[in-house]
Symmetry: C3
Amino acid sequence: MSESILSRRSFIQMSGAGAVAMSGLSPGVTDGGAHEKPVNPDPQTHHFSMTIEEAQVTIARDLKAKVWAYNNQVPGPLIHVVEGDTIEAAVVNNTTATHTVHWHGVPMTGTWWMDGAPGINQEAINSGGGEFTYRFVANRPGSLWYHCHVEVPNHVGVRGMWGPLIVDPLEPLPIEKEVTREAILMFTGWNSKVANDYFATEDPTDHLDFYSINGKCFPYNQPIRVKEGDVLRLRLYAATVGVAFHLHGHDMLVTHQDGLPMPAPYWADTVAVAEGQRKDVIIRMNNPGRWPAHDHNEHHLSNGGDTPGGLFTIVEYEGIESDPWYLWAKKEYDPDFYFSESLKQGYGLIEQSGFKADAVPDEAGLAAAETVQVRMMDRGPDGTAKVFDPGFVRISRGQSVEFVPWDFGHDLESVPGLIPEGAAPFSAPKNAGALVRFDKEGLYAYQCIAHRAIGMVGLIAVGHSSHDKAGFAEKIASSPELSEGARLRLMALLEKL
Amino acid sequence: MSESILSRRSFIQMSGAGAVAMSGLSPGVTDGGAHEKPVNPDPQTHHFSMTIEEAQVTIARDLKAKVWAYNNQVPGPLIHVVEGDTIEAAVVNNTTATHTVHWHGVPMTGTWWMDGAPGINQEAINSGGGEFTYRFVANRPGSLWYHCHVEVPNHVGVRGMWGPLIVDPLEPLPIEKEVTREAILMFTGWNSKVANDYFATEDPTDHLDFYSINGKCFPYNQPIRVKEGDVLRLRLYAATVGVAFHLHGHDMLVTHQDGLPMPAPYWADTVAVAEGQRKDVIIRMNNPGRWPAHDHNEHHLSNGGDTPGGLFTIVEYEGIESDPWYLWAKKEYDPDFYFSESLKQGYGLIEQSGFKADAVPDEAGLAAAETVQVRMMDRGPDGTAKVFDPGFVRISRGQSVEFVPWDFGHDLESVPGLIPEGAAPFSAPKNAGALVRFDKEGLYAYQCIAHRAIGMVGLIAVGHSSHDKAGFAEKIASSPELSEGARLRLMALLEKL
Amino acid sequence: MSESILSRRSFIQMSGAGAVAMSGLSPGVTDGGAHEKPVNPDPQTHHFSMTIEEAQVTIARDLKAKVWAYNNQVPGPLIHVVEGDTIEAAVVNNTTATHTVHWHGVPMTGTWWMDGAPGINQEAINSGGGEFTYRFVANRPGSLWYHCHVEVPNHVGVRGMWGPLIVDPLEPLPIEKEVTREAILMFTGWNSKVANDYFATEDPTDHLDFYSINGKCFPYNQPIRVKEGDVLRLRLYAATVGVAFHLHGHDMLVTHQDGLPMPAPYWADTVAVAEGQRKDVIIRMNNPGRWPAHDHNEHHLSNGGDTPGGLFTIVEYEGIESDPWYLWAKKEYDPDFYFSESLKQGYGLIEQSGFKADAVPDEAGLAAAETVQVRMMDRGPDGTAKVFDPGFVRISRGQSVEFVPWDFGHDLESVPGLIPEGAAPFSAPKNAGALVRFDKEGLYAYQCIAHRAIGMVGLIAVGHSSHDKAGFAEKIASSPELSEGARLRLMALLEKL
């Protein structure tokens, strides 16, 4: 074996990579052999508070988008732990839609009800203040992520509901230990047609026309700054769009797929990452210059047709003098845009001011939050038939609820005896819907006249002060207006109070 | 080498995989060394009858699609043989379009004319009862498939003409022998706009909006049921759409590409399969729960915009209690939806009642099968210029033929002297077409007035009883109405009788 | 280890492949260890003249497209050198748009300003005769390519600005030495809607509807002819569209990604190549017949909806008798369509008559070259704000310049004192633009009234004879009509003279 091969090997540490590739996975999941699993000698439990907010982000000069933002950020905050740590995340949903958190790549060993798939392994977290606490062991290392799992073409596809979850391995590859600089790149698309309408009826992924890295289209994003001698690791997340990532001036060693070491790392100048996948690449930075780094799918390289744009950034070496014609000559630099600084801040949930979203602007003089939307549906986001979605809504006095005929044929009326004394009955005629303002505190039950037999009912709590839950439960139990199905479903909804 | 590595290896059998990866391919194709090929000690010959039918399938609540169905099924029936076996499949085409069967992945060593590419290695099988018998050795193992090769954006893209062909290897990998449960998942798309029109003029793949696994969109498909301890093999077929397949709760070991063992199997939580490819993944089922398994391309996760939907299913462990909110709580279970039962039924062609299609409904009081369509084309599906397609049609007495001006400028007339005595001449004026009913048995020749010189002619056989083929050949030979090109082509068409 | 495995190994030369995979990369880029790099004992310097021309190509019977063609070819000419050779390419841009050449896969070690990304590592090459000479060492072997890097969705996506660059390795793999026949296949898409309009305002990649191999859609392209016993190498370039390439009758060994040997070559019948990537596959041709070879994405298999079409070709073995129904029975054969002959012609830039483009046809009696277009833009193709693009234009006497309001709000006027004596002032009113004919030789400066303060100016040189550059510089320096920003920018533009 020639010296050159040995030398190359000392970079790749092929045998090392192979070994860890074989042993680095959660053996509980794949082998059942507990003796294999590296043991975290000092596992931590991280308690996080997470919220989901209605907000607006600016993706490019020409595009603002309404989002549901984890901790009011797009991307959501970095969550950074060590393999074997426990995560306890208390989530509050402050929006008018239901949501969840799916922890993509975490095996959820023995905790399948923490997986975040609505109607499958949990109920969706209710709108208007619904809460759910996720608790699980992060027993699988790598570049993981989290995202909502409700109506994914909308929530994940175009509403910014994704963020990075990095689980440091207990036994990193030799080459990982050489890394001096890290960057996380989350690739996603946007649809300018529905950006301003949370509940547009068209398929939001039908025609994407803006594409961003970490929520910003080129040139509104940031350079990746390095210095000669750095060993750079890029964690490439094809969060919602597949990419063919090309780096100029360097070949990349593809070391990890979905956070797991590859048995045969390979070199490439253009790395394909399919939707949902992550690939980690490691690069020796030994060729000073200014180097484009971008998706090679041309459709992802404009902002609604304007070029340059889209999934494009620039690797800048320190010490390269700028030029007057350099398009980022006067760029205001944010060293944490790719989470490089956040990743050094120790473990936990790390928020980032640069990703904070703006408030949703007033429209027609009415703050968006003043109206909550309830859809009258044949099939709800969790797959159940004939539902109001969300079924339970908590609002303030003076707020309104818009009942929207999402599917048609649903004829809504408030249930006599199940609204506060003195409050006006309300209805939403078939195929027409209604906008109803609630000025009196208390609990309001309503039902679909046609489908109450199968439990198509809803509950509205007006006022955030305490309600007479027990008293209302009694009314439900004894009401002659309710079918058995409606009674059971209302009881379940009351539990959400 | 640590114990954990050895233990991991005992699962992957890496060296074993590598060895078979090297030797498991058909050496006739790749090496020319017959000494390498594992020899089937007892090769079987399987005789199959296959038909192609006009039928209708229900893909989702909101979508019925007209298909051409192999043995009246979508997917087509499972064909299951052992490496080295011979397949003899007698195909009868009962539809009004031409078709073939391409056996994707079979090398067709020494039998290239059995490969199923029309105009390249065979003539398309004629409509109205055309027959062709494929005979070849299945000398290459793995997850193969079959599909039509005529006008593929239509026939394969949106007409359901695909089915699985599993060729068991003579020398399976060690890990394959551990498998306790198998599932075949064929991913395809649909276009609701053309679903009801076999011959829509727009490109049927221009805008797909429904996506199915084995012909059904979620939630109209089925769970994959397993029990703890199972070793599950998923055979992922990207039959017409590429997927990024994500399984919750488990990492997958990718063991085979296109049916062939990979030299370096790798772990992933999201596996990319490009159009036409197959990847086999193997998973230890040791994490009980209910786990989504789905494409991560959000555009493939709705049914025409409705969510949840599309390329999505659920892995259910035995023993997990259901929940009232579980969207498949009342699912009627079909244990063979993923061919799991069919694969255990021994070898041969295995039909499946669950995949049987419905009859195409009557339209305007006329059964579809009563009218056969002949297109007047500048370029036929096999690439030849100026043709009637199909050129030869066999119908029953009382059936009609609709001559459709697919491309314009073709002016059809029956050839004097080449229709049955007493039968009425017929024509289809330029750009207009015609619907012609045939009430008299016998043979009818017709031609394009403008292009008869280059052989643009057609032949219709009315009545399934015997025809005077020899007598008609004499008439063709002596007719003063025919050009030489027309004469030659008519003779060839007569051979199809 | 069985004999069969050894035998297989002798074909793959797995250990050899692995070894070269490790050592075959440019160590300057990846390792910093000069001792590793194989040294070219006799490096050559290749001097090429390249031009960029406005031209028209015929992609399919139904589609002609306006292109910007390297050396008037689509694909651009083959460039073929040995690892370690130096390339010096003097490029002249004879079109009315700005362009560059990016050398995809060349590390540009120590020559980052030769990388071809406008506004990042070089200024774009000006229209109307602009020149730039690229000089760099091709120190990284493999299937590389070159393409424009200006407004890539248009220039690369649908204007034919791509060609192959093959850098022969100093240390080829054993299997590479066995190759007897080579073919280069560049896969790209086209958009018939914008094909006739260089500057259509819509995103040209929004809806591709034609797909070609080496610039021709099936069946207007060519067969790949082989003989039994050949070892065929296909270099698959997903230049602008990703493909899933399926070869009938043979499995392919995937040996190289992006020109670099893979550590674990694998077998496949369908090979995925993402946008911008290249994969080399090697096949033993030992199964005589006629075999389709095509993308398996059905949307890429029609010509604007007509089938057969698109990314499809046929491998023809010598000695297979044709059939009357074979759609290429009368094909006029071009043995160099896949560069097979060009690759044998030694090193250098090898033009090919078969790929030469046609002149752009006259429109409304005016040759396209007689009018040069200048766009008034908020953001130029290199990302700079408020520019005329191109800023500098050189035309002949009698030619016209069309000032196009690409973005609106720009109000153009010629600068008093900075046009030739006796020439008429000109202007282009806000939002309207203007077509201005220049009949007098000399230099013309103009500016945007609203944005001259930030240097939104342009310069036109009429007549190709020498101009009084120094005198004009003095006028610029002393003009009271110019802001400081305008003065600086005009000086820079004058340097382009």
